[in-house]
C-alpha cells in the first residue's frame, strides 16, 4: 500500500500530471452539471454531435491555414449548439435525428478535408488525438489550465445564478414560457455554455471523453436520487470522483486517460444502478 502511495506521490511531483488532474476534474464537474439538463431534455448525444462539429471546424481551419483555429471552431460550434437546442418542436428534423445527422456529416466532412488538403504526415494519429484525446491531456500548459479554471468558474456561476430557471426550463419549458419566463433566453444560455465547454474540453480531453462525461454521471445520479437538487449534486460528485480515480489509475498503469475515465464512469453507473435497485426494493 505504501509502495502504491509512493508511486502516486512520485508521479504527482510532475507538473504535467497535476495540470491533467486539475483540468480533468474541472471539465468533469462542468460537464456533469450541464449533463443533467441535457440528458433530461433528451439531448444525450449532443456532446458527441457538437464535438464532431468542432472536429469538422478544426479541419476547415487547418485547410485555411489559420494560425488560431479557435476563431472558427468556437463560433461554428456555438451556432450549431443554438440551432440544435433552440429549434425545438417546430423543426422539420428533430432531436436525435438532427444531432445524428450533424454528427456524422461533420465527421465525414472533417476527415475528407483533412485527407484531401492535409499537410500532416500522420493523419491517422491527428484524427485519433482529436477524437480520443490520447495524450493531449498530459501535455497541457499553465495557460490551458487557467482557461479551464476560468471556464469552470463561469459555468458554475451561471448554474448557481440560474439554477431555478434551468430547472423550470428543463422540466417544462412550455409552462415556463406561458407564465412569463424567458425560456428562449435560458435555452440560448444553456446552448452557448454547452458549446463552450465541449470545444474547450475537446482540446483538453478529446471528444470521446466529453460525451461520456455529459451522460454517465447524470444517469448514475438519476438511478439513485429522486430530487432534482440531489441529482445535480450527485452527478457533480460522481463525476469529480470518477475523474480523479481515472487519472490516478491511468498514471499508475499508463493507460489512456480518456478511455480510463470512461471505464471508471461505467463502473460507477453499475454501482449506482445496483444501489438504486436495493433502495427501491426496500421502500
Amino acid at each position: 500500500m505504501t509502495e502504491l502511495l509512493d508511486k502516486i506521490a512520485f508521479y504527482f511531483a510532475y507538473p504535467t500530471v497535476r495540470y491533467a488532474l486539475i483540468a480533468a476534474v474541472l471539465v468533469a464537474l462542468c460537464a456533469a452539471l450541464l449533463g443533467v439538463t441535457l440528458v433530461l431534455k433528451r439531448y444525450s448525444f449532443i456532446g458527441d454531435g457538437l464535438s464532431h462539429v468542432a472536429f469538422g471546424a478544426v479541419a476547415v481551419a487547418s485547410v485555411l491555414h489559420l494560425s488560431n483555429n479557435m476563431l472558427i471552431v468556437m463560433p461554428v460550434t456555438i451556432v450549431f449548439a443554438v440551432l440544435l437546442l433552440c429549434a425545438g418542436q417546430n423543426a422539420k428534423i428533430k432531436g436525435d435525428a438532427a444531432i445524428a445527422m450533424l454528427s456524422v456529416g461533420a465527421l465525414g466532412i472533417g476527415y475528407l478535408l483533412m485527407h484531401v488538403f492535409g499537410t500532416s504526415s500522420n493523419l491517422a494519429g491527428d484524427v485519433c488525438t482529436t477524437l480520443f484525446g490520447s495524450t493531449s491531456i498530459l501535455t497541457l500548459t499553465p495557460t490551458d489550465v487557467w482557461v479551464c479554471v476560468a471556464m469552470s468558474v463561469l459555468v458554475i456561476g451561471v448554474y448557481l445564478l440560474f439554477y431555478n430557471k434551468i430547472f423550470a426550463v428543463t422540466y417544462d419549458e412550455t409552462f415556463a414560457h406561458a407564465t412569463g419566463i424567458h425560456s428562449g433566453l435560458y435555452k440560448l444560455i444553456l446552448a452557448v455554455v454547452t458549446a463552450v465547454i465541449i470545444v474547450l474540453a475537446m482540446n483538453l480531453v478529446g471528444s470521446l471523453l466529453i460525451s461520456a462525461l455529459i451522460i454517465f454521471p447524470a444517469l448514475s445520479a438519476m438511478q439513485l436520487f429522486g430530487r432534482f437538487r440531489a441529482v445535480v449534486l450527485g452527478s457533480a460528485c460522481i463525476s469529480v470522483i470518477c475523474a480523479l480515480l481515472g487519472i490516478i489509475i491511468s498514471v499508475l498503469w499508463s493507460s489512456p486517460v480518456g478511455a480510463t475515465i470512461v471505464c471508471v464512469d461505467m463502473g460507477a453507473f453499475a454501482v449506482f444502478t445496483l444501489l438504486g435497485r436495493i433502495r427501491s426494493g426496500k421502500t
Partner: protein
C-alpha cells in the same frame, strides 16, 4: 370587460389553417369547456392563447386586469415529464418563478405560497416525495398546485383527466369546480368528456371541422342538440 376576447380568429401552423372564424369571450369566473374531435384545433387554440403560436388572423385581447403571464397552464404531460427526477415541492415551487424576476432563489413568501397551494389540493404530505413515483391523479394535483402558484385568475387546463381512472377523474373535476366556485378562478378546459363538460361548465365552445359549431351557455348547448353529434362520432 372580458378576461379573454377572441375576434374572427384563424389558427394554424406552418401556413396550414386548422380552424377559422372563432369568436368567443371568457368573463372572470366563467367555466368554459372547449370540446371537439381530435384534430379540430383545440391544442392549437391553447398554444395560441399561451402565445406559443401567432394567430394567422384575428385578435386575442386580454382584459379585466389579466396580464399575459397570469394564465396558469396545466399541460398534457410528456413521457419525459412523468419520469422526471424531482420532488413534489420542487415542481410546485417552480410555479412561483415568474414572481422572482432576476432574483436567483425563492424567498419565504414564495415558499409559503407553494405550501398553501399544496395544502389546498391535499398534497402537503407528499411534498418530499418523488414526483415520478406518484399516481396519475396525484401528479395532476401537483401540476395544478404549480399552476395556482403562477396565478389565481385564470387556469387553462389541457385534458386534465386524460389517463386517469374514473375515481381520480371525478376527484379532479371536483377540485376544479371548487376552485371555480370558491376562489372565483376562471377555468378554460380542453376536454373529450362531453358529459362532464355539461355537468360542470358554465359555457361551452364546440369546435367542429375547421369551424366553430357552437359557443354559448351550457343550457343553450344542451337544448341545441349539437352534443349528440360528437358523442355519436366518438363512441
Amino acid at each position: 370587460m372580458a378576461q379573454i376576447t377572441c375576434q374572427s380568429l384563424a389558427l394554424g401552423y406552418e401556413g396550414k389553417r386548422v380552424v377559422e372564424d372563432l369568436d368567443f369571450t371568457v368573463e372572470a369566473g366563467d367555466y368554459l369547456c372547449i370540446v371537439g374531435e381530435n384534430g379540430s384545433g383545440k391544442s392549437t387554440l391553447v398554444k395560441t392563447i399561451l402565445r406559443l403560436l401567432p394567430p394567422i388572423s384575428g385578435t386575442i385581447t386580454l382584459g379585466d386586469g389579466l396580464r399575459p403571464k397570469e394564465i396558469g397552464y396545466l399541460p398534457q404531460q410528456t413521457a419525459a415529464q412523468r419520469d422526471f427526477p424531482a420532488s413534489v415541492e420542487e415542481i410546485v415551487l417552480s410555479g412561483c418563478l415568474n414572481r422572482c424576476g432576476l432574483r436567483p432563489f425563492y424567498n419565504r413568501s414564495e415558499k409559503a405560497l407553494a405550501a398553501a397551494n399544496m395544502r389546498r389540493l391535499g398534497i402537503e404530505d407528499l411534498s418530499q416525495r418523488r414526483y415520478r413515483e406518484l399516481s396519475g391523479g396525484q401528479q395532476q394535483r401537483v401540476l395544478l398546485a404549480r399552476a395556482l402558484c403562477a396565478t389565481r385568475k385564470l387556469l387553462l387546463l389541457d385534458e386534465p383527466v386524460a389517463g386517469l381512472d374514473p375515481a381520480a377523474a371525478a376527484e379532479m373535476y371536483g377540485i376544479i369546480a371548487s376552485l371555480n366556485r370558491e376562489e372565483k378562478t376562471t377555468i378554460m378546459m380542453i376536454s373529450h368528456d362531453i358529459d362532464a363538460a355539461i355537468k360542470y361548465a358554465s359555457h361551452i365552445l364546440h369546435i367542429g371541422e375547421r369551424k366553430p359549431l357552437f359557443f354559448g351557455t351550457t343550457d343553450a348547448y344542451v337544448s341545441s342538440g349539437i352534443a349528440g353529434s360528437l358523442k355519436g362520432e366518438t363512441k
